[in-house]
Subunit: 395 residues, 2 copies
């Protein structure tokens, strides 16, 4: 008699080295497969935020900028994220939204590019905000913007290319772009590589330093579990920081911010990527949320992520009526992020019914069911149940 | 026998209509005169934020974008601030930092200005970030930037002026600029008026609509008590919204944000001022903090603010050794915001000692002691004590 999916899931969970990390999150009876949109709540966060509000804001008040370390939080939390990106300290700063950081990165890269480089390439499958902001950056720097499939970048990058803005993992299909290869191809063309890591950081090794990525941005509310709308981050490779010329030179990026000088002089280092007063409540919630990564190997996360995806697809194939869904996520591991996207007629209605039955994924226009696997808290049992409920809904 | 300062303070407090509002804040034995830098904690905030984290993030998770009203928060909280600015609903949106909003407002105003208008005027006494960001906006729109004293704007605005960026209240001296007069003068020159309300909103009536202000920005962590680094706001006058062309057209400002269209189409109304995913923890802390304004008349706030300042100056003059400090804040009510700034030798050391003795103001380079009066929770007794301790320190 063949093993059931539930039995296989139990066996896989029993030998999962990340299984104990699940206890660090607040979870309930649902199967939560939307951590690629909003990560679950780490248990340490409520207590820490309560203390920030009651003690640091309520009692120390203004003194907390120094005494509680608020002022230095953008760089400190950046250094906490850096290992997940394969970045040495001093290259990541936290603050603002992903969109605002894309603007800084794209304009900054145009200004770093040599004379005569007036073309921006953008991955056409990007999350839309990347394209909108790249278009604004192009308009404001006198560049042209050309959208194209990421895989064509090596052929299309040329002597006029300033940079390419590329999503590491496609938000819709879950396809993983070739960061080392595309970065190398851009460098060969004399152009800069700007990566959007929203759907990869925290789900797989990124290795920014090792691959010589120039600039990168990402959000912190998906696989980094920072909370709704938590601040994003900007990475600028150390060698490029001295020529990073931000389009948003707010007072927090000044060399002497409390000098209150009318003339702007940029700070050294990644502090140059700051803008205005950092949002402390969200920043410190994020800092605490990052504690769940203590002792976690990102390679183990990647292994489990792929295993979860493989197991989900096996379960779906075994139980969902033939032809009812089509997998739009590449099966090959080297081409896959940490989600599985299924194209499906009536996807919006199907997702509503899944959610009603306790399986939380999301729907992306026009016909995609997205299931995100967050290896720190998704179990193989979750995945087996999600596939079973999906089959029931589609029958 | 003449009345003591303490006796006069007690009498003034006894007839203060705003005295009961003080109970809505968490205060301690200190005299807190730095609410113009970081407002005190409203009592309702800790409980609300705890619920947002535990229930909305921890349990509802992704569903809260709809079910808990997260998605609409930037406009909803904007409408909550609007009455304090004298703005009808639908013209204020909350999000990003003040610096980022200055960038949107200044670039937006340049794009609204007629052809041939390629000059930006900026109040030279501005908080520095205003000048830095205006300079970047000028550079990126092909304009020139000219810094000058606010009072010279009527003489200097001309046919090439696109806009002037002016601080309503000077962060250093506490001087109140003439918003109605300068706005009218700019309009007469065919230019737009962009106001920075960081040091006025919540301390005095602003009346944006009545005076025809075009665009405005402000922070929410000073007189609005939103918490450290709470999100800022952008005001765009209703008639101008259709031609507001944001330099930061993130996906949140799209007409159909979940349509995931590769082509940008701006939303109608003030939503066009949004950029990326809003920072929910800080946004909802701010929303709750704004409840302290229920039933408060901004005219009463202004009356008390001026009375606190007058009383402080009287006490200082009566007790501080002659010549030891010089008031750099105008005495005339029509020229004064809600702070008193005293120039003083060794101001940095003096402020350190004041803080040590429980009087919290702040020091601004090079020689200014700032005392901010926040009428919702500053009492006349606080002011009398601050003046007495200042005299003791300076003796």
């Amino acid at each position: 008699m063949s093993e059931t999916a539930a039995e296989r899931a139990a066996a896989l969970d029993a030998r999962d080295e990340l299984a104990p990390v699940r206890e660090k999150f607040v979870l309930d009876g649902c199967v939560y497969l939307d951590g690629n949109s909003l990560g679950a709540l780490p248990r340490q966060v409520p207590g820490r935020v309560a203390d920030v509000i009651a003690h640091e804001w309520g009692e120390l008040r203004i003194r907390s900028w120094e005494e509680a370390g608020w002022w230095a939080a953008p760089e400190r939390v950046g250094d906490r994220i850096a290992p997940l990106l394969g970045a040495a300290p001093g290259q990541v700063v936290v603050g603002d939204s992903t969109s605002v950081n894309i603007f800084k990165a794209v304009v900054g890269a145009v200004r770093m590019a040599g004379a005569g480089r007036d073309e921006i390439l953008a991955d056409e499958a990007s999350f839309p905000t990347d394209g909108y902001i790249a278009e604004s950056a192009a308009r404001m720097t006198g560049c042209t913007l050309r959208a194209l499939p990421a895989e064509r970048i090596p052929d299309e990058a040329g002597p006029r290319t300033a940079l390419a803005l590329i999503n590491h993992v496609d938000y819709r299909t879950g396809r993983l772009n070739d960061l080392p290869g595309l970065t190398a191809a851009l460098h060969e063309a004399g152009a800069l590589a700007v990566w959007d890591l929203c759907h990869s950081a925290g789900a797989l090794p990124v290795r920014l330093d090792a691959h010589g990525v120039d600039l990168a941005v990402g959000c912190t509310y998906k696989y980094l579990n920072g909370g709704p709308g938590a601040p994003a981050y900007l990475y600028v490779r150390e060698e490029l920081q001295a020529c990073f010329d931000s389009p948003l030179p707010g007072w927090n990026s000044h060399a002497v911010p409390f000098g209150m000088d009318a003339a702007y002089a940029p700070a050294d280092g990644i502090t140059r990527g700051r803008v205005g007063t950092p949002d402390i409540l969200s920043m410190l919630a994020l800092e605490t949320a990052l504690e769940v990564w203590d002792g976690v190997r990102i390679e183990a996360v990647r292994d489990k992520s792929l295993a979860l995806g493989d197991f989900f697809l096996e379960c779906v194939e075994a139980s969902v009526p033939e032809g009812r869904v089509r997998c739009v996520t590449p099966r090959e591991h080297r081409l896959r992020g940490s989600q599985v996207a299924l194209s499906c007629a009536d996807a919006g209605k199907v997702m509503t019914e899944l959610i009603h039955r306790g399986v939380i994924g999301d729907f992306r226009h026009p016909d995609v069911l997205r299931f995100g696997f967050t290896p720190l808290y998704t179990s193989f049992a979750d995945v087996a149940r999600a596939a079973r409920v999906l089959a029931e809904v589609l029958e």
